[in-house]
């Protein structure tokens, strides 16, 4: 197990290095001037040159990369070209909304998706199964931004039940915070719930045909016990793979939802930073997102072993 962990850690570090190197090169090579955006429409070339010097953009690319990498190794991700704030502090601030949104969406996607899939498999061919499959397909196919705007129209504008946009931290005002997170969570989680539901249903149906289940039934186990103790547990191993991918997609894919609902998360930070060429912020954000995805994959691998005792990493 220790050897496995070491290999895994080494692989993760190598992946991170490749990711940040590629991102650094790509973001610095594509055209775009942060100085021009900061200075606005009345800028002169002289002002742009002065600001480039202030931001260190007049230095050669390899030198900038070496300085940045040295900073990362000492825990310093640099400062934003725009606000002048420390990248690590900004990311920390904007990680909270994304993690809360991802967690609530994941609970919705996994909880609802697995339940719907399992029930659909149990009642295969019935009205519930057909209804669940149509719902899952619709949810999976519906574009995020469209669902978000639809929910805002219905629940905010017409029924005045929930706020249209914004974010309140759970740590500051938990009583109000939940009102702001419901619509984004449904928007982000719905399509993933649809996918998880379809996979959970298919996996469980596949298990139903397995020999060991016939044996279990022959031993006289109750249908409930056959499903919950044997079929469901085994089907979850394959479902868990999809859940792992779903979590990774939720972290990286919250951009649209965060933009529609004005949630100040890390996805929106990344898009804003790319659009304004805030290089230190882009590199720091990608690094953190890559770290989170690696962490999720690592945890999912661990969960495999917990669910299926046959899986060992020695």
């Amino acid at each position: 197990m220790r050897a496995y962990l070491f290999r895994r850690l080494f692989g993760t570090l190598l992946t991170l290095f490749i990711v940040v190197t590629l991102v650094f090169v790509i973001t610095n090579v594509i055209p775009g001037s942060p100085a021009a955006l900061i200075l606005g429409e009345d800028r002169t070339l002289e002002q742009v040159r002065d600001l480039d010097r202030e931001l260190g953009l007049d230095r050669p690319l390899p030198l900038r990369f070496a300085v940045w990498l040295a900073g990362v190794l000492t825990g310093d991700l640099g400062t934003s070209y725009f606000s002048g704030a420390k990248v690590s502090e900004v990311i920390l601030q904007r990680l909270e909304p994304t993690l809360i949104l991802t967690a609530t969406s994941a609970i919705l996607a996994v909880g609802l998706g697995v339940s719907l899939g399992v029930l659909a498999a149990l009642f295969r061919g019935g009205a519930f199964d057909i209804g669940a499959r149509i719902t899952a397909l619709t949810a999976a196919a519906m574009p995020n931004f469209w669902l978000g705007l639809l929910l805002i129209l219905l629940l905010s504008l017409y029924w005045r039940l929930l706020p249209a946009a914004g974010y309140v931290s759970f740590f500051e005002n938990p009583g109000d915070a939940w009102r702001y997170i419901i619509l984004p969570s449904i928007t982000l989680g719905a399509s993933h719930a649809g996918i998880v539901s379809r996979v959970a249903r298919a996996n469980l149906l596949e298990e139903f045909g397995a020999d060991y289940l016939r044996t279990a039934r022959a031993k006289g186990l109750s249908p409930w016990s056959v499903v919950t103790r044997h079929a469901l547990r085994n089907s979850l191993v394959s479902t868990l793979g999809v859940v792992g991918v779903t979590l990774a997609l939720l972290i990286g894919g919250s951009v649209v939802t965060e933009t529609v609902f004005a949630v100040p998360g890390i996805g929106r930070l990344l898009v804003e930073s790319v659009l304004r060429r805030d290089f230190p912020m882009i590199q720091g954000t990608i690094l953190v997102i890559a770290l989170l995805v690696a962490l999720v994959n690592f945890l999912v691998d661990g969960a495999y072993a917990l669910i299926d005792p046959r899986i060992r990493y020695d």
Binding site: G32, A36, L37, G40, E41, T44, F82, S83, L157, A262
Partner: protein
């Protein structure tokens, strides 16, 4: 008895607390804006979002009144020497900064010197300035090397304007941008939640100027306790947010939505600043360096087919002037060359000029829908005149970068924000993108900036005509920003730039 006394005492206490709570209830005004500002340092940028927020925190020596005449703000009075070379400003006394310091001449000198060095407009004025000195605790002298008629106007501007910061804030910033947002304004900076909002609070010790509120000038009162600028990128959500009372105001709303608010008492629709759309030829290199080809483009443009991209007719107007109707500098000199709408004539001119079909690169930003649509219509109009046009669409950062490169583009669409004086136009400078080098213009501008006010208008007309003769800029038309407020918002001024002092929100 004792219990009853206790009970009534408790009731009285609760009632008092309730009343106190009701009377002293915190009021808050929430403004939804499209994007967060790149900085709050007012000296270094002319970006709208910066000014929209930071102008509540910082003030200048002067501000424009509703007729766009300069009026004193932190300056109490000023005198100009007979030779026109020396401006002596008396600074108001007892004006506190948000950090508790009291404004004095040193703060003004430090701020003006930084502004002269860092701001695009400051650099224009700095060519005429030899020194800025404090000659007393509340006296500042600005010395010029030759008379200039635009000093007070330049000191009144909001765009990259000479806002006053404490001297120690300027010193702490050094050569970098200011990160301590301290001013003398009616609101003080509280916090900037990255990507979420900027929060300002009423400055209890604010020293208001003793003059009635008038435009951006006069008395400023913070009638709400908290002013929040919330960043909401999605247009429809900004709009719905005002309709549902989640926001009190929303900036930069689509013009088309104004129709639905005409009959809605809960949402007030207002025209914001008039803006101007122009086609900028690159005069330094490429095909458009040729005056003949610029004239072809000028003759081909048909503005009535372009301006509807800005919405219904309330939101745009056909106007040849490169200075707005709202100012004293409106001009129609050279207007015969505006909106010629003559593709056949333009085609003949292109042939006569020996145009060989070299592609003309029209640079566009994909992030600005109106500019993009203007570009699409213009492409058709220029091609009808026989020009081969290649649209080059980039995101904003790449587009702006392209505009700073002299050989990377031939034509570009520009949207200019409102300015009250010609000197505030960046395209008047040869250093601005498009690089209009013209010795006649230079001589006229020098004369314009140093002439008497009466004569200046006549010189401006000559410069204006030169813009048309040289096809330095091809004017398309004016259009208006659109902002909305909740019906419960009272006192929102109809000035071009949005501000929220003297504004109340009914509970």
């Amino acid at each position: 008895m004792l219990n009853r006394l206790h009970f009534s005492g408790l009731l009285a206490g609760l009632s008092a607390a309730f009343l106190a709570g009701a009377v002293g209830a915190q009021t808050e005004l929430k403004v939804a804006m499209k994007a967060q500002p790149p900085t709050l340092d007012l000296h270094v940028t002319s970006t709208n979002t910066v000014r929209n927020v930071a102008a509540h925190v910082n003030e200048g020596l002067f501000a424009f009144d509703s007729d766009f005449n300069p009026a004193p703000m932190l300056a109490e009075s000023y005198e100009i020497s007979e030779d026109g070379l020396s401006y002596t400003f008396q600074i108001r006394q007892g004006v506190p900064f948000h950090n508790g310091d009291i404004l004095d001449a040193d703060d003004v000198v430090a701020s003006l010197n930084r502004w002269l060095k860092r701001s695009s407009f400051g650099r224009t004025l700095s060519r005429y300035v030899t020194s800025v000195d404090a000659t007393g605790p509340h006296t500042v002298v600005l010395q010029l090397n030759e008379p200039a008629n635009f000093v007070i106007t330049a000191l009144s501007t909001w765009r990259a304007g000479p806002f006053i910061y404490p001297a120690e804030v300027i010193a702490a910033a050094g050569e970098e941008r200011i990160t301590e947002f301290v001013g003398t304004g009616p609101f003080q900076f509280v916090e900037w939640r990255e990507g979420q909002e900027i929060r300002l609070e009423r400055f209890a010790d604010y020293a208001a100027v003793e003059a009635p509120a008038d435009g951006y000038a006069g008395r400023k009162d913070a009638f709400v306790d908290t002013l929040r600028f919330i960043f909401v990128p999605e247009l429809s959500v900004r709009r719905i947010g005002v309709e549902t009372s989640d926001f009190d105001a929303a900036l930069d709303i689509d013009a088309d939505s104004s129709e639905r608010y005409k009959a809605d008492p809960n949402v007030m629709s207002s025209l914001g600043a008039p803006r101007m759309t122009t086609l900028i030829p690159n005069k330094s290199s490429g095909p458009m360096a040729s005056l003949e080809l610029r004239k072809v483009a000028q003759a081909a443009v048909c503005v009535e087919d372009i301006l509807p991209v800005y919405g219904n007719a309330d939101f745009w107007r056909v106007d040849p002037s490169l200075t707005w109707q709202e100012t004293a500098w409106w001009s129609d000199a050279g207007a015969a060359l505006y909106n010629q709408c003559d593709p056949e004539g333009a085609k003949a001119m292109a042939e006569a000029a020996g145009y060989d079909g070299t592609p003309i690169r029209l640079a566009l930003s994909s992030e600005d829908e109106s500019k993009y649509n203007v570009g699409l219509v213009l492409e058709q109009q220029l091609e009808r005149a026989g020009l081969v046009v290649e649209l080059e669409v980039r995101d904003a950062a790449a587009h702006e970068d392209t505009l700073d490169m002299k050989t990377a583009w031939d034509l570009a669409i520009s949207e200019h924000t409102y300015r009250s004086h010609p000197i505030l136009h960046s395209h008047l400078q040869a250093t601005w993108t498009g690089w209009w080098e013209n010795a006649d213009r230079d001589a006229l501008v020098a004369e314009f900036l140093t002439s008497s006010e009466d004569y200046a208008k006549a010189i401006w007309d000559r410069i204006h005509a030169l813009y048309y003769e040289d096809a330095a800029i091809i004017k398309i038309g004016d259009y208006f920003e659109h902002h909305i407020t909740r019906g419960a918002v009272d006192g929102y001024a109809g000035m071009p730039e949005p501000f929220f002092w003297n504004v109340r929100v009914e509970p």
